[in-house]
């Protein structure tokens, strides 16, 4: 009886995990680039560079005592954030994670106000109350990083429900890590998104580890994308260090969501180059492993691809890099000059005024 039931369910909910195999050296232009202008590709590269330089500068500021607490860097994961957000409109929503600087910038935040937040200043996106782990920019649809692993996933489903009820065309992206997919919240959220056919794109950025715990030690399935089949939604694996592959999957999933086709799960396989946070002693992985991934740096790969396809020149790249450098410098100056919040306002914003 139980077996029969299982089979019936399988029939009504076929697994649709599609494994996209990376080709050795694709000589052709990725199909998705037909939909993206040369300018938007250059902007994508600029955003990836901006994320990288933002995080390197934030790390530097941390060392110099300008940043309080801890932070989680996404260096090495930039193609994933920018590739997903390339398919989004400013009116689309996003929930992010503790490793959320890249998502925030990719969705359109100003690095000046992000630095101000990191420095605990009043001009920060959270008026200095949140810091790195709660960075948000509601004006661009980023509902915030989250200090609770998996915390944003059900929230994203709620936002999607709200969009559907209000007949708004916005879709919602929920970023989370490979560790988060073992929280009950992940499973409950995917199920609800599926039964209610909600416009949400679940993006698991699988960087191989939740802190020190590798996904093969924590996760029963080999690929997180396999879990999509349990909730009758499309699951897809992409090379998270390949902008084009990520963007293609994102456009497909966003299109499905906007057309009422319901949720999708994208597993973006990538790697975090830095430690989990400031306290990481890196005991659980080898130097060789890190070096192998350094050789697959998503920014270098994207630059080379754009050069090869003639979307950009080396002079353009130099100009973009110089421009990013200027933006970072100005942003830090802005953040330093911003006033600190006043102690008298400690309990402000707990309730609506």
């Amino acid at each position: 009886m139980a077996v029969q039931e299982m089979k019936l369910r399988e029939k009504s909910a076929p697994a649709r995990v599609r494994v996209v195999v990376e080709e050795a050296a694709p000589p052709m232009m990725p199909v998705i680039y037909r939909r993206l202008s040369a300018e938007s590709l250059r902007q994508a590269l600029r955003k990836m560079l901006l994320i990288r330089r933002f995080e390197e500068s934030a790390e530097d500021a941390y060392m110099r005592g300008l940043v309080h607490g801890t932070m989680h860097l996404s260096i090495g994961q930039e193609a994933s954030a920018v590739g997903i957000c390339a398919a989004l409109d400013p009116t689309d929503y996003m929930t992010s994670t503790h490793r959320g600087h890249g998502h925030c910038i990719a969705k359109g935040a100003q690095v000046s106000r992000m630095f101000a937040e990191f420095f605990g200043k009043e001009d920060g996106y959270c008026r200095g109350r949140g810091g790195s782990m709660h960075i948000a920019d509601v004006s661009t649809g980023n509902l915030g990083a989250n200090g609770i692993v998996g915390g944003g996933i059900p929230i994203a489903v709620g936002v999607a429900l709200s969009m559907k009820r209000q007949k708004r065309s916005s879709v919602v992206v929920s970023f989370f890590g490979d560790g988060a997919n073992n929280e009950g919240a992940f499973h409950e959220a995917l199920n609800m998104a599926s039964i209610w056919k909600l416009p949400v794109i679940f993006v698991c950025e699988n960087n191989g580890y939740g802190m020190s715990t590798s996904s093969d030690r924590s996760t029963a399935v080999k690929d997180v994308a396999q879990r999509a089949s349990a909730y009758a939604m499309a699951g897809r694996i992409v090379d998270g260090n390949d902008f084009a592959e990520v963007a293609q999957a994102a456009f497909d999933a966003v299109e499905r969501a906007r057309q009422g086709g319901g949720p999708s799960l994208i597993e973006s396989k990538t790697y975090r180059i830095r430690g989990h946070s400031r306290s990481d002693r890196n005991r659980y992985r080898t130097k060789e492993e890190i070096e192998a991934w350094l050789a697959r740096d998503p920014i270098g790969a994207f630059e080379r691809q754009l050069l090869r396809l003639g979307f950009i020149t080396t002079a353009d790249i130099d100009a973009i890099r110089a421009d990013v450098e200027r933006e970072i410098e100005e942003a830090i100056a802005f953040a330093k000059a911003s006033p600190a919040p006043s102690i008298e306002e400690l309990t402000r914003y707990v309730y609506s005024d």
């Binding site: 309080h68 607490g69 801890t70 937040e117 605990g120 200043k121 959270c126 200095g128 109350r129 949140g130 810091g131 782990m133 709660h134 989250n146 200090g147 609770i148 692993v149 998996g150 915390g151 560790g179 988060a180 073992n182 929280e183 009950g184 919240a185 939740g210 802190m211 020190s212 715990t213 030690r217 924590s218 996760t219 306290s279 990481d280 002693r281 005991r283 659980y284 600190a340 919040p341 102690i343 400690l346 309990t347 914003y349 707990v350």
Partner: protein, 355 residues
């Protein structure tokens, strides 16, 4: 009426400030608070095969605060067990193991994440024995790294101990010194019921005298840290040290504060508190959890309901966390919980009759 209050060499207040580089008079043997916990874990695992550890990144990573450190090398991955990031499920696993002959010690990476496991703690662990008419027990220990002061903001800085203390079936302790950290943990492991241990993150690097070998600190007994005639300051966790520092300064002004480390929220040592208030005639409660409906309310009420009430020469005062989440900005963060100068001012005003 008077209950046992043990006295031990008072912890020097500056000990709290980890890594300040100051050296102290050499004592028999000093360990940090984190080392004291680790030693207790090792002693218990060595002595009893049923004892094992569960938590996120407590193996090769050593735990987010290096409390388990290298224990995995000594006891292996079966007894120092990394769990997936599944607080609710893993807490349930611990409850099941405790029900059936094992002695799990569960580490929350941050106390805040216990909110994901409330179901298992509050509805299951705390009630199973009662619901089953005493047929089972749940010898479970859970450790909660708590408190603010690290810049980790609202979701990694909370002091939720009063929540748990509100649940009959749980025991809730807050050791403030390395000595108590080890002794309370060993007592908790020996206890047949679920014990929740709230450890303050800022205390992990604090050093103090810790005897070698096995000893226990009774759960539910307060500790008199410093006798004084003018006012009783009852504090928990890191606030014990801030209160001791305050008492030292106040002594220079001629105000003698008696400082009591509550140590346990459930059971609550009401007698020790009442006895002290009868001696000093004034009471100030200092704790980090949010003030309203916090532990101070219970302490005040318990004095108001007792015969110690007649001895009071001044209203009872509470110093607790501000009515807001813990903010990120360092100055705001400090302002959100009691600090030594605020304790000094409050006690001085109370004793001098200025409020």
């Amino acid at each position: 009426m008077s209950t046992l209050i043990e006295t031990r060499p008072a912890q020097r207040p500056q000990d709290v400030f980890a890594g300040d580089g100051r050296s102290h008079v050499s004592r028999a043997r000093e360990l940090t608070y984190a080392q004291a916990i680790q030693e207790a874990l090792a002693i218990a695992m060595e002595a009893d095969e049923r004892v094992f550890l569960m938590g996120e990144d407590i193996g090769i990573y050593g735990g987010a605060f290096q409390v388990t450190g290298d224990l995995v090398q000594r006891f292996g991955t079966e007894r120092v067990m990394d769990t997936p990031i599944s607080e609710l499920g893993a807490a349930g696993v611990a409850v099941g193991a405790a029900l059936t002959g094992l002695r799990p010690i569960f580490e929350f990476q941050f106390s805040d994440f216990s909110t994901l496991a409330m179901e298992q703690i509050v509805n299951q662990a705390a009630k199973l024995r009662f619901m089953l008419g005493g047929a089972v027990s749940v010898p479970l220990v859970m450790r909660f790294p708590s408190g603010s002061g690290t810049g980790a903001a609202a979701q990694h800085s909370q002091s939720l101990e009063a929540w748990f203390a509100h649940v009959p079936g749980l025991k809730v302790v807050q050791p403030a010194t390395p000595y108590d950290a080890k002794g309370c943990l060993l007592a908790a492991i020996a206890d047949p019921d679920p014990v929740m241990i709230f450890e303050h993150k800022l205390l992990y690097k604090m050093k103090g005298e810790v005897p070698e070998g096995h000893y226990t600190v009774p759960l539910g007994k307060a500790r008199l840290c410093r006798p004084g005639r003018d006012v009783t300051v009852v504090a928990t966790s890191i606030m014990v040290h801030r209160s001791l520092a305050a008492a030292e300064e106040l002594a220079d002004e001629g105000i003698e504060a008696e400082v009591i480390d509550l140590r346990s929220l459930r059971p609550l040592d009401r007698d020790a508190l009442a006895a002290s208030v009868k001696r000093t005639h004034r009471l100030v409660c200092v704790y980090e959890g949010v003030k309203t409906l916090g532990i101070g309310a219970e302490l005040s009420a318990s004095i108001a309901e007792s015969d110690a009430f007649d001895y009071l020469d001044a209203p009872i005062l509470r110093l607790g966390g501000a009515e807001c989440p813990i903010p990120y900005n360092p100055e705001l963060e400090k302002a959100a919980v009691p600090q030594t100068p605020a304790i000094i001012a409050a006690v001085r005003n109370l004793v001098r009759g200025r409020r």
